[in-house]
């Protein structure tokens, strides 16, 4: 291999992993400029911060790979959280009574209710997209508004508060590694890891996952191969909906309150996370892992800007530029 070839190869690798390199640069700069960035404490903090939106990003990732999208995730997180919280809110005795009537700990009912609400929206989106043959963008634009309205109706426009401690314990709970050093891993992190592993497995190792890639890559080819495209789409939206419902319920449990305005514009963060991580917007290409990287980059950038005292107005500009540069770096030869 001569020098030129080595250069070529280097270029290729750099291009392929441009995002990761950019990510490293950001991390190193932050490490140098701030004192607290490179501490285990901060690592766990970042993990915790990533986890809820991270779960939603994983769901989005799966849909983007399938050549679809879901604009409703932010609102569905809200309505799921609100619905779940109602089951365990001392301020809403009729719902709490309903939840208690099942004879099991209302906390489980709440978790289930949240996930089911997400699933219901998944079914709704999936059915209309698969059977109605309407572009996902437009269906989920509609359901985004519907879910938000429902969140307001259910909560009567006010945050659902006074949640049972056992429920808020889900989000607040943590695994303590070292009491003295204050090292804890939040519960939500384990949920996140679980979701990442599960969806990775499905995408790589299950037929369903392969069909998601096939549909995203070439829908008519998938159809010609005898794949029940409609069923796969429905299934994917249902799975994504459940994950979003879970993310919403976990967030609410962390927040100890369910504001109906919650999750506004989270769909954009989730999409940005996927794209920054390298999931192709055209479908058919991408890994769950990419969405994890993207979600981390977004959280770390936010943290970095807060740490470096970047003014709020300028933060928006930086964030916008980073979204564009990330993809630009990925697509074009930057060296």
């Amino acid at each position: 291999m001569n020098f030129k070839e080595i250069m070529q190869k280097g270029k290729g690798i750099l291009q392929k992993y441009a995002i990761l390199f950019g990510f490293l640069v950001i991390v190193i700069v932050l490490g140098f400029v701030t004192e607290t960035f490179f501490t285990l404490n901060n690592l766990f903090l970042i993990l915790k911060q990533v986890s809820c939106i991270g779960i939603t990003t994983v769901a989005m990732c799966m849909l983007i790979i399938m050549g679809c999208i879901d604009l409703s995730v932010g609102s569905v997180m809200a309505v799921s959280g609100v619905f779940g919280a109602l089951m365990v809110s001392e301020a809403n005795p009729q719902w709490m009574a309903f939840a208690s009537s099942f004879g099991i700990d209302p906390v489980w009912i709440a978790l289930l209710a949240g996930i089911l609400m997400g699933t219901a929206f998944g079914v709704f989106n999936g059915l209309i997209i698969a059977k109605g043959k309407i572009p996902p963008f437009i269906v989920t634009l509609g359901s985004m508004t519907i879910a938000r309205g429902l969140a307001y109706i259910l909560s009567q426009g006010m945050p659902v508060a006074k949640l049972l401690d056992s429920f808020t314990g889900i989000g607040a709970g943590k695994l303590t590694l070292s009491e003295s050093a204050g090292l804890h891993i939040s519960n939500t992190v384990f949920f996140y890891i679980g979701v990442v592993l599960l969806v990775s497995f499905i995408l790589k190792k299950r037929r369903f996952g392969r069909y998601i890639y096939a549909i995203g890559g070439n829908e008519s080819a998938a159809l010609a191969a005898g794949i029940n495209v409609d069923a796969v789409k429905l299934k994917a939206y249902v799975l994504a909906g459940s994950l979003v419902g879970l993310a919403g319920t976990l967030s609410v449990s962390r927040l100890k309150s369910a504001p109906p305005a919650f999750g506004n514009a989270y769909e954009l963060d989730a999409i940005a996370g996927c794209i920054i991580g390298g999931v192709s917007f055209n479908g058919g290409i991408g890994k769950v892992w990419s969405s994890v990287v993207g979600a981390f980059i977004l959280v770390i950038i936010q943290q970095g800007m807060d740490m470096l005292d970047v003014q709020t107005f300028y933060q928006q500009i930086v964030k916008g530029l980073i979204i564009i540069l990330a993809v630009l770096g990925d697509r074009k030869r930057i060296i």
Binding site: G157, M158, S180, A181, L255, K256, P259, N264, M307
Partner: protein, 329 residues
């Protein structure tokens, strides 16, 4: 109350930088060596201009006292999750006290819990949070603002007038409090007819469309109340277009420049004055005390009605406020 040394930990020597800053030895150090106290300020967002005045007040205090305080301001884009996240980051950075302007009374509570865990005192500003740990609150009561605005309307229009009001973003603490104030007063005055209400989402444009449509459907009003001046500008244009300026009393909150000009013209009746700069200023002052383990108390600044009758007396205040905000943003 003085709650700053609730962190009665026993493992002082092993406690890493996070939790130790507020221990007695540390604060003593701070006072002696005159190393400035680091105050974290977590602001709900910049959807309404009002918070900028509050932050200006904070900066003003910090600038006046560079030796004793340093502040670090972050904005949460009206997202409680983001606020909790940012507060966690602030704690990581080692703040000595937190000034919290909660996105939501309940949803922002975990941010306070996090401070409690780290032994960092919390002062809330403008909006309260549902937590016992908060050392003091600086602000004005939202319910009160709704009450005095509605009372002003009834005072001018009489006991049997027809009113409509435009809510801020539904679920926001200011909206919840102010609407509660409206409804309380309406309850006390059964003669007043509530013709219509809806949300303008803190947008002038949406409010304009809403009021245009109200008027187009033949609804009649003696007064329209807006929960923020940034909405009132839209209501103003709608009423003006319908040729009803002067016939419908208009009132808002926050005394922004454009509305003050309308009040001077006499086309808008009033706006509610809330001393944002003062809230910010005093919140930092009190936070420093809390960080230094000095006992602190709530500090309430009352709302005032700024109307066609008395607006001159507010002009200089507003000028100062705007100059200050322009300096920091």
């Amino acid at each position: 109350g003085d709650t700053a040394d609730t962190s009665t930990d026993t493992t002082d020597e092993t406690v890493a930088d996070t939790a130790s800053d507020t221990t007695d030895t540390d604060t003593a150090d701070t006072a002696d060596t005159a190393e400035p106290v680091l105050i974290g300020c977590s602001i709900q967002g910049n959807q309404s201009t009002f918070m900028q005045y509050v932050v200006s007040g904070m900066f003003q205090y910090a600038e006046e006292n560079p030796d004793i305080v340093e502040i670090d301001v972050v904005y949460a884009d009206d997202d409680a999750t983001k606020q909790c996240t940012q507060v966690e980051t602030l704690i990581q950075e080692g703040i000595d006290a937190l000034v919290l302007n909660p996105v939501d009374p309940d949803a922002s509570a975990p941010a306070v819990d996090a401070c409690e865990e780290a032994g960092i005192p919390v002062i809330t500003v403008n909006t309260t949070v549902n937590s016992d740990y908060v050392s003091a609150h600086v602000g004005s009561d939202d319910v009160e603002s709704g009450r005095i605005q509605m009372e002003r309307v009834i005072e001018v229009c009489g006991e049997d007038c027809k009113v409509g009001y435009v809510n801020a973003v539904i679920g926001h603490s200011a909206q919840v409090g102010r609407e509660q104030g409206y409804l309380e007063v309406l309850d006390e005055h059964p003669g007043v007819e509530l013709v219509a209400y809806d949300t303008g989402n803190w947008s002038g444009d949406e409010t304009m469309q809403l009021v245009e449509n109200w008027l187009a459907s033949g609804k009649e009003f003696d007064a329209i109340l807006c929960e923020a001046d940034c909405q009132l500008v839209g209501a103003y244009v709608a009423v003006e277009d319908a040729g009803l300026l002067g016939e419908i009393l208009l009132t808002g909150m926050d005394c922004t420049d454009d509305i003050m000009a309308y009040i001077a013209e006499g086309t808008v009746d009033s706006s509610i004055w809330q001393d944002g700069v003062g809230q910010g200023y005093h919140s930092v002052r009190i936070a420093i005390d809390a960080a230094n383990n000095i006992g602190v108390e709530d500090y309430m600044i009352p709302y005032e009605v700024c109307s066609v009758d008395n607006y001159e007396s507010y002009l200089t205040k507003i000028e100062e406020r705007n100059a200050l905000a322009a300096e920091y943003f």
